[in-house]
């Protein structure tokens, strides 16, 4: 199949996808729309974590931390001064923040950028030492962020969180960002930079001996991953309308890690498929359980069963199906048509 044909197929399917988004946004039940939004956000998170964990072979557990940074930073920028004033009734918000309001899109970008900077500050020291420490340090980082958010009363409103956030997030925003994330990371891993990242995963010593600057490339993957996590957090915040320091806890990171592991470390396709599946599964399993919880994120005691099932699936996958659903395979038109032809024969 030639390149032009593939390009046409890609454009046609994109157009169909946008049409479907429009149909969904206009006619779909709000409940389903919500799940579809969450699905897109999970795709963003899964694909960006896969860049760090799957393609570069470093293991980060900081995604929830970066998300909360993105969510808080963007919310504080897109909330109106009046809304901030009503929220901060214990202690008023500090000056420049009390006046600023910028459009959603730019607020998201700033949120992502702040997450990326934090990613650099946390990642750089561990990445210099070795991959092992990254997991535990980022794990701690996510919890520390929670502690800080709880304590910075005049910036984050402390444990009260931010309430009544405007719902800017819709299917266009969420899936728009999801498509951009997929595009960006797919292009990156297929580029010369991507080969350098994968070479680090395969053999650090050899990669360095072939001239790959380990520190630069590990940090690159980590910062890009953190950026998209921040964007995902911003989108999620505006979707949930309420955020507090506990919205982004370690269970959320585990869910994202699960998306990556079940989909396959090093397969963007896998993360996309599992991101969407987990978003729906979370809802399906809710019917099994008590219907009391707030959407998917805060996990109070009663809803433990659902997470327990997920945890079991995760452990079984890790032990018995190490390569996940897709291994390192990716969707491509060639692959679809080849398998079709094989079936026809």
């Amino acid at each position: 199949m030639d390149r032009r044909m593939k390009l046409i197929l890609t454009i046609v399917s994109l157009l169909v996808f946008i049409l479907l988004l429009w149909l969904a946004e206009s006619y779909m039940d709000p409940f389903i729309k919500r799940i579809l939004n969450v699905a897109a956000i999970y795709v963003i998170l899964g694909v960006s974590l896969n860049l760090i964990n799957g393609f570069t072979g470093q293991f980060s557990l900081g995604h929830a931390g970066f998300m909360s940074l993105g969510a808080y930073a963007s919310a504080l920028l897109y909330m109106s001064p009046a809304l901030k004033a009503t929220n901060f009734f214990i202690e008023p918000i500090i000056w420049p923040l009390s006046e600023i309001q910028i459009p959603f899109f730019f607020a998201l970008l700033v949120g992502g950028a702040i997450a990326a900077v934090a990613g650099f500050a946390v990642g750089a020291p561990c990445l210099r030492v070795g991959g092992d420490y990254l997991a535990i340090v980022t794990y701690g980082f996510a919890e520390i962020i929670r502690v800080i958010l709880n304590n910075l009363q005049n910036i984050t409103n402390g444990p009260l969180g931010l309430k009544g956030l405007p719902t800017y997030t819709n299917l266009y925003w969420s899936w728009g960002w999801a498509l951009f994330t997929i595009f960006f990371i797919k292009k990156l891993v297929d580029s010369s930079y991507g080969r350098a990242l994968k070479s680090i995963r395969e053999d650090e010593v050899a990669a360095e001996a072939m001239g790959v600057n380990l520190f630069k490339h590990k940090t690159l993957a980590f910062v890009i991953g953190a950026f998209f996590a921040g964007i995902g957090g911003g989108l999620l915040g505006s979707l949930l309308m309420t955020i507090d320091p506990n919205s982004f806890n370690i269970s959320l990171t585990f869910q994202i890690v699960m998306i990556v592991l079940l989909g396959g470390l090093g397969s963007i396709t896998g993360s996309v498929v599992m991101g969407v599946s987990i978003a729906f599964l979370m809802e399906l399993l809710r019917f099994v359980e008590s219907p009391m919880t707030i959407f998917g994120l805060t996990i109070p005691g009663i809803s433990g069963m659902r997470m327990l099932i997920f945890a079991l699936i995760l452990v079984i996958t890790v032990i018995f199906f190490r390569r996940g659903l897709f291994g390192q395979k990716e969707f491509s038109w060639d692959w679809i048509f080849r398998s079709k032809r094989r079936n026809a024969e």
Partner: protein
């Protein structure tokens, strides 16, 4: 601040430092032998308190028996985790065993949430441990002294075990050179299981001491002590027992003295410990007592 009060904080810091140190040794022992960050260690710690709790309330055991019961079941749990989740992946890429460890941590937390419920429970503290002694103007709780005494005894036993027994020799051999030790006929599976048993026993013991000090238990209680202890292990230099103990002391002191001198910053204590960790990684990545890499 009067010298009495300072001394009081010092003793408190030492006792807390011992608790962190005991948990940290669990991380360090396991890391030394199998080169794995045992993410589930903090959760094993948490489970120990529940075993004691249920031994006491549900099975109506006398308190001392509940403690022994708790330690024994925790050891079984720790060894079981290794058998089920880590052993099958021993020859797999390291990232796989790391994933398994993270998965086990997640699983245990959720099992605990479902079985024990998410709410905090009160851990029984024998009245004798809450009595306060006044020694020369310094007020010290019995539990603080008990913690120090128990820790010292345990550490002496541990030193004997590692330096003087065959099993200890096997552990040391594996941590120096896994493959060669294997060739020399060391029973790898048994030694690793034993290492996990010791690590879990230390986790159980420190968990009980912890719960006697802060008598509220819940399924996520292991996260922070576990994380701080791991930080202690890194600060001391992972793989080094003395280092783990020293790191534990350092964190115990930082925690207590911070609360004592800067109560308004107490909320940030974990953030400060985190910064400490990052600085250590930047300045002396192998930790204070760590072996230098051959680089």
């Amino acid at each position: 601040m009067s010298p009495d009060v300072f001394l009081q904080h010092l003793v408190n810091g030492i006792s807390l430092g011992f608790i962190f140190g005991l948990i940290a040794i669990g991380y360090t022992l396991v890391y030394g032998v199998v080169k794995l960050v045992n993410f589930a260690h903090g959760d094993v710690f948490m489970m120990a308190t529940f075993f004691v709790f249920y031994g006491f309330t549900l099975f109506m055991m006398p308190w001392w028996l509940a403690v022994i019961f708790g330690i024994v079941v925790t050891i079984l749990l720790g060894v079981g985790i290794e058998r089920i989740a880590y052993r099958p992946l021993r020859d797999a890429p390291r990232i796989s065993s790391l994933c398994a460890a993270i998965g086990m941590s997640f699983l245990i937390q959720n099992i605990a949430t479902v079985v024990f419920g998410g709410r905090q429970k009160s851990f029984y503290v024998p009245p004798s441990l809450t009595t306060t002694f006044v020694i020369g103007g310094v007020r010290i709780q019995a539990i603080t002294i008990a913690t120090i005494v128990v820790s010292v005894i345990v550490l002496l036993l541990l030193t004997f075990l590692i330096k003087r027994t065959k099993m200890g020799l096997a552990m040391r051999a594996l941590s120096v050179d896994f493959d060669t030790a294997k060739l020399m006929g060391i029973n790898v599976n048994r030694t690793i299981a034993f290492t996990f048993a010791i690590g879990s026993a230390l986790a159980a013991l420190s968990a009980i001491l912890w719960a006697l000090r802060y008598p509220q238990i819940w399924p996520f209680m292991g996260v922070f002590p576990g994380w701080r202890a791991f930080t202690a292990a890194i600060i001391g230099g992972i793989g080094s027992i003395v280092g783990a103990l020293f790191g534990g002391f350092m964190l115990g002191m930082v925690t207590i003295l911070l609360v004592a001198f800067f109560p308004e910053a107490a909320g940030y204590r974990d953030a400060i410990i985190f910064v400490l960790l990052v600085v250590i990684l930047l300045v002396k990545p192998t930790g204070l007592f760590g072996e230098k890499k051959s680089r």
